[in-house]
Symmetry: C2
Subunit: 272 residues, 2 copies
């Protein structure tokens, strides 16, 4: 999906919501466990219910891998279901991959050729040759970790170098030598508040993938106040607060209500 | 596997070699492609041939994931084969995972409970809560990226902070607040030469997993000169130079010869 197509989707739907498919067999409604593939059954119902209110879906690979081969099958079925039924939704594989060049090339092949997702989250620690193999695919995106939503983000990401540049700022700046606003986004946690101002100084136009609204406590208003651009420039993810809002047979209906609530809030904050 | 058991294996075999199972369908001998599971057939033959000369195996997940569900099955079969036939070999899942706390917990469950591997490579960028969930398993190990073997390692890992501490040094120092020499190792590339001296100042006793000997050009002598401890303290990985040394029906035999060559060189360098 191109940047322009993504912006069009946001404009049409008045939403920049991404629904995180952190599908956990311990948390999905019990009646689904009788299904042949409970993870896929859950995802399918959540997707059908929330699709009108969001522009993106983000399955987190950890949850699928934890079920081994079966989980991997559920993941593939989910991606295929999205391709067939919701081709205008932006699909993010949240896998946080990154390795030496020839290995990153293998991961790129997996996610961008085999799975054909639109984007992949990538960890920056190993530098240029760990990231650039993912940038060789037309219409595909790297979403590079910059300033994450968790407590541990303070351990290394805020370290200032001798010129006073913090590590996440160096990641933002340096990675622009590798990609551009048409093939690269950044992960910035919603819990980072006014730091969005500092981030926008370095990447004024790039899209940011923003986790941490909802269960992790980030504020949507604050994210928009300091992070929104004229093209929106934000994809805000919510996982647990939407998909696990209800654990009865009404789970999908309630997920739709929650997604709609967020979408309405987003519509009021959007400036396009 | 405990630290003491690993040291015993190294002493008995006079080897600190890890064979990297970077199994690529495009590179394995053609006659194996007729097998039901070519990746596993290749791994099984390589393992049976090289087991006397190495103490560890390191499947790199990227190569398995690139074959989707089939690759995941090959990976599981390889791990099970190692458990059943070579329980004294240390098994490293080279996956470079790391995510917010609850997600890292899922990854830890996958690799340490479902797969039951001995260790997992982990990326440090997201800090403490991305690493500590992997440290909750008795006898299991985190192998944290410190100073990697690739060119991109210079982009961020060498950045000096205001106290003159480089990022990889901060990772080494800070992570010792989370784990210890009995449950944590570090990845240090063989291409880093005398940097091993600086690393040993911070982690004098920890084991280091050292990729980059062989195809990537690192020197075993140099790694040992600057990095070896009284308990060896090194696991040196070689992948391509061993497993793809020959592409005929003699591939496993030639892999054994190559592994033996490295083992003999290691025996001459070992001080225990």
């Amino acid at each position: 999906m191109t940047r322009q197509e993504l912006i069009e989707q946001i404009r049409e739907k008045k939403s920049f919501l991404c629904v995180g498919l952190d599908t956990d067999l311990k948390k999905i409604p019990e009646h689904l466990l009788a299904d042949d593939d409970p993870m896929f059954a859950f995802n399918k119902a959540i997707i059908d219910a929330t699709a009108p209110y969001c522009v993106a879906y983000k399955p987190n690979l950890a949850f699928y891998e934890s079920n081994g081969v079966k989980g991997w099958i559920s993941f593939e079925k989910t991606i295929n279901y999205l391709h067939e039924n919701y081709p205008n939704h932006f699909v993010i594989a949240d896998a946080k991959r990154g390795d030496i060049g020839n290995t990153s090339t293998m991961y790129a092949c997996t996610f961008f050729e085999e799975m054909n997702v639109d984007s992949l989250t990538v960890a920056p620690y190993m530098g240029e040759d760990s990231v650039t193999p993912f940038l060789q695919y037309e219409g595909k995106w790297v979403i590079l970790l910059a300033l994450t939503s968790n407590k541990g983000s303070h351990d290394f990401q805020l370290t200032e170098d001798q010129q006073g540049e913090r590590l996440f700022e160096k990641v933002l700046r340096k990675s622009q030598e590798w990609g551009n606003k048409d093939n690269m986004m950044y992960v910035v946690g919603a819990t980072q508040g006014r730091m969005f101002e500092d981030i926008r100084k370095i990447v004024p136009e790039h899209f940011l993938l923003v986790p941490g609204v909802g269960a992790q406590g980030g504020s949507l208003e604050e994210v928009c106040k300091y992070g929104m651009t004229k093209d929106c420039g934000l994809i805000v993810n919510s996982s647990r607060a939407i998909i696990y809002a209800d654990k009865t047979e009404r789970f999908a209906e309630v997920a739709a209500e929650k997604a709609k609530e967020v979408q309405l809030q987003m519509a009021s904050l959007l400036n396009m």
